[in-house]
Symmetry: C2
Subunit: 397 residues, 2 copies
């Protein structure tokens, strides 16, 4: 049996916000005791009401829960949107006998529509009555936050630090409008470790930079991106983590975030190839990420991979306009095991083998090696094919 | 009859660089007398050999000609590529009895292949024997520079300044890998006005910012982008332009560049909608352009237009991550004549009418009005549909 972190309750229900009968659209995540909470959010200037509300509430030491609705983003909804987000938190707090400030709020879905508050309010009250610490209830939450994702995304981890067994669970949703900056999509990581809120915030920031900020579907930054990390200290015998114990915990958080991020890219709308972009030998991690992101967001690179075409000139030229300074002779490029470009010069290669590599693998890898330093990053994206067009041209508002 | 600027000769031939029988692939543009020359170039770190050669040669007062090949970009070709570009200029100069430095070089086509120099050299010599001042010869040049463009792009202008009739002709190629910064694609503007080289450079820079830097197909910056402007002073009775005459000339250059830029967006690979993005009320022209470019490069915006879906949340959220600071209440959005978003609040609108507007017009307009200042820009892009995917997935290297 999968060990869930101790001291958390879950509920995911159909409130009626979505019109599809029975489709889950409302979720509660509750900590039995006040938990340290950290969060990272979209930096889009046009950000949703729940983002405006939640980002003022973290980091904090006494979070009690998270309320999430899907199907409506509560974005571009003006003052009424903020009041509605505050009300979602307040109704949840009433049910938990805590303060509204202790509740964090998230929404995802269509932009520009007011929330149907009576539906949501009764939904929250009914979800609160079904809270459970079961894996089935967690699974309901993972389903309730999805939009066009084809499957829920859940990851588990446990580790022993200082003789105490600590557990982590992460869930996420992605699908499209994935163009990370600071954070993207919705993600929730829960742990029973005992970690101070400010340290938790630093750990989440770094983990998000290396995971959720290293994926892209089409580079469109969402209005609603939120990742929250709760730590309630309910592991048996837990005491506040510090030193190497805290570092081990941070590594585990990063691993959970990394796996969720990869899952989001791997379930991107219309995907037929998951593309892993490794950048090595850069001056800084930030520069490595900038190169990878520029390549990941090139429609020409993505359509070439979709068409199983080893068109390396598109990859190298995208690196060239990333804004990172380099000379051509600083750069080499591999596609899978094939060296295509060696320190600024094209290498004769077996084009049929390279094309077969792309045609026969759902997951493909390109590696760019610079001679500028030792920083690196691993970035995930997807290809761009007919199905992405179909989904996004036919998705009617 | 179209008045060509005086004192220019043209030739566009099939040299054999392209394998399609008879398809023109090599062009010469020659000024009978030394001409002032200005140029703007890609800022991609990975830039083609002809860009490296030509950008060192402008601005200058004594240019004699331009040699251009299509089908091969001469990019990512190392030192040999630079030697080949220099050789293209040198062979042209031999034929014109001038110095190699007086010749500018451009290439466009596939990246990473060495130029077939014997083919090109004999092509240049044979083109030099066919130089002509006829409109047919100019038309041959306009064809010879094309890649996947579906049609040549030529514009004419004449104006009278200080009693002298001045003529301008511009030609360009585009199609894909269009993601402007400073300049993009190949463009050539020729005039018989008499303008000093440094003034010509300033005029071209500003015109390019407002035209070729205001278009995008998929945002992928090319390795070969080049726009050159020659002014040979061969208008009858021409004397050096200054003051308001120079301003009138600059307006004409900007008009020719603007029309060519619009033509490039309108002939983008796989296009079914030309999208005009007007941004008004911005703090600076640069900020207006940044907002427009971010929207123009969002796959979600482009697929929505392809699908005739008035999904304004995608437009507003793209403006939000453009990097330009604003509050939601600073922004209003029109689609055609329909107001969709009014100072931060959604406006109830006739969705069927909005969708019909997109479905029934090849050219569609969105207008974003900020309350931040008085700067504006007009930007052109295209939608993203199945045909772009087909062309770019099936284009095999």
């Amino acid at each position: 049996m999968t060990p869930l972190p101790r001291g958390y309750l879950f509920a995911g229900i159909h409130s009626g916000l979505r019109s599809e009968p029975g489709r889950r659209d409302l979720a509660l995540i509750v900590s039995r005791v006040p938990a340290a909470a950290a969060g990272v959010f979209t930096v889009n200037r046009v950000c949703a009401a729940p983002v405006q509300v939640s980002r003022r509430r973290v980091p904090r030491a006494d979070a009690r829960g998270i309320v999430i609705c899907s199907g409506n983003a509560n974005a571009c909804t003006g003052r009424q949107g903020v009041e509605d987000a505050l009300r979602m938190a307040a109704v949840t707090a009433e049910e938990l006998y805590c303060d509204g400030e202790q509740i964090l709020v998230c929404s995802t879905g269509i932009i520009g529509r007011p929330l149907p508050m009576p539906t949501l309010e009764s939904g929250i009250r009914s979800a609160a009555k079904r809270l459970s610490d079961s894996e089935a209830a967690l699974n309901d939450v993972a389903h309730a936050i999805l939009t066009t994702d084809t499957r829920p995304k859940i990851r588990y981890r446990s580790l022993t630090v200082g003789g105490v067994e600590i557990r982590l669970t992460g869930i996420a949703k992605g699908a499209a409008m994935i163009g990370p900056h600071l954070a993207t999509m919705l993600g929730f990581v829960l742990t029973d470790a005992d970690v101070a809120a400010d340290r938790l915030q630093a750990i989440l920031r770094k983990a998000a930079d290396r995971s959720f900020n290293c994926i892209s579907v089409e580079g469109h930054m969402s209005t609603n991106d939120t990742v929250l990390l709760l730590a309630n200290g309910q592991a048996e015998g837990a005491s506040p983590l510090a030193g190497s114990d805290l570092e081990a915990f941070a590594v585990a958080v990063e691993a959970v975030c990394g796996e969720l991020a990869r899952e989001i890219a791997n379930d991107a709308e219309g995907i037929s190839h998951l593309i892993m972009i490794d950048v090595e030998g850069a001056r800084t991690e930030e520069e490595a990420r900038r190169v990878a992101k520029t390549i990941a967001e090139s429609a020409l690179v993505k359509t070439a991979i979709f068409g199983a075409d080893p068109n390396w000139g598109r990859i190298v030229s995208a690196a060239g306009y990333s804004g990172v300074e380099f000379r051509e002779e600083d750069l080499s490029l591999w596609l899978g095991d094939l060296l295509l470009y060696d320190r600024g010069m094209p290498v004769p290669f077996d084009a049929a083998a390279a094309s077969a590599y792309l045609r026969n693998n759902r997951e493909v890898c390109m590696k760019l090696v610079f001679t500028l330093g030792t920083a690196r990053c691993r970035f995930y994206t997807c290809d761009l094919g007919y199905e992405y067009i179909r989904l996004n041209a036919e998705y009617t508002t």
